[in-house]
């Protein structure tokens, strides 16, 4: 579980990793199940796979969120925000709407000046918990379906 969570955490630190959507979290949950079934030579039920997947994704996602908040509070630097803003401006520039680009730049500046607010912290936490749970659910169920090694445990045992 720790290796899967570490994988999710490590990927989240890479700039532009957000383009991978939920793939790192699903892959991290599947990695945890792959290693668990490999080391203990057993087949997990779907329920157990889901439990392990959700815990792995939550651990990795929350660790990344805590580090992001700590860096913001200590150094006033938001991880990957610069990359996200550059990419947003580049993508929106295709619409040929200079007024919209100016508005976006103003919004980015206002966000930077505002710093980290309590509502942003709460939204970030809720978002991390819900999305990690969904990705862990998917990764856990798919991992249990794909990695079967050895005797299956009885459901509910």
């Amino acid at each position: 579980m720790m290796i899967g969570a570490g994988f999710i955490f490590a990927i989240s630190l890479i700039p532009f990793s957000f383009v991978l959507c939920c793939l790192p979290q699903i892959a991290g949950a599947m990695l945890a199940i792959h290693l668990f079934t490999k080391w203990y030579r057993l087949t997990l039920t779907y329920g157990e796979g889901i439990k392990l997947g959700i815990l792995t994704a939550l651990l990795g996602g929350l660790a990344a969120w805590v580090v992001g908040v700590a860096v913001m509070l200590l150094f006033g630097y938001q991880l990957h925000v610069k990359e996200v803003q550059e990419m947003m401006l580049k993508l929106f520039s295709h619409f040929n709407n200079p007024a919209m680009i100016d508005k976006m730049k103003e919004a980015f500046e206002a966000q930077k000046a505002q710093g980290l607010t309590l509502s942003q912290l709460l939204i970030g936490l809720v978002s991390t918990v819900v999305t990690s749970a969904i990705c862990g659910l998917l990764g856990g169920a798919l991992g249990a379906a794909l990695f079967k090694r050895g005797p299956a445990k009885e459901a509910g045992s």
């Binding site: 957000f18 383009v19 991978l20 959507c21 939920c22 979290q25 039920t45 779907y46 329920g47 796979g49 889901i50 439990k51 996602g61 990419m87 947003m88 993508l91 929106f92 295709h94 619409f95 509502s119 942003q120 939204i123 970030g124 809720v126 978002s127 991390t128 819900v130 999305t131 990690s132 969904i134 990705c135 659910l137 998917l138 856990g140 169920a141 798919l142 249990a144 379906a145 459901a155 509910g156």
Partner: protein
């Protein structure tokens, strides 16, 4: 017992269906004025690139086309698989086909055969979410279904 299990799976399925419909609805609501906090809610697991999102009232929604349809596929798949009994082997075949189509879509687009085709991303993403639903429904039903009656021990004095 089989009937009880099916009824239980059906309840779980409709609960999950409701959750993913609300989740997708929130993504659409992110396009409304004042919905920027909803964009932040979806940002950890979706790149939200505007050119890859559907627009609502002239603004991009909070999820890219593929992510939105994965969630909608998941929502639809749960009640369908609660009613329609599919074997594990066939579910794995369906998942393999859906996964292959997603990978093929990504590869073909990156090779430049077509550019930003939202309909292929919607179909492949939706099918993938639909295929995943069989596994998540089975796991969640297993986790929440406890056929064993609770045993209360009465100490005799």
């Amino acid at each position: 017992m089989e009937k009880v299990l099916t009824a239980h799976a059906s309840r779980i399925a409709w609960l999950i269906f409701g959750f993913f419909i609300i989740w997708s609805g929130l993504a659409v609501a992110a396009a409304l004025p004042g919905g920027s906090w909803l964009h932040r809610l979806f940002s950890p697991t979706c790149h939200q690139a505007p050119e890859r999102c559907y627009e609502f009232m002239g603004h991009p929604i909070g999820l890219c086309v593929r992510c939105l349809f994965i969630y909608l596929g998941l929502a639809l798949g749960h009640p369908v698989f609660a009613r329609w009994q599919l074997s594990e082997k066939n579910s794995l075949r369906l998942l393999g086909t859906a996964g292959f189509l997603v990978v093929a879509d990504v590869l073909l687009e990156s090779m430049g055969l077509y550019d930003n085709c939202k309909s292929t991303r919607a179909v492949t993403g939706g099918l993938f979410g639909f295929a995943c639903a069989w596994f998540t429904l089975r796991g969640l039903s297993e986790l929440s279904f406890n056929p064993e009656p609770k045993i209360t021990r009465h100490e005799s004095t």
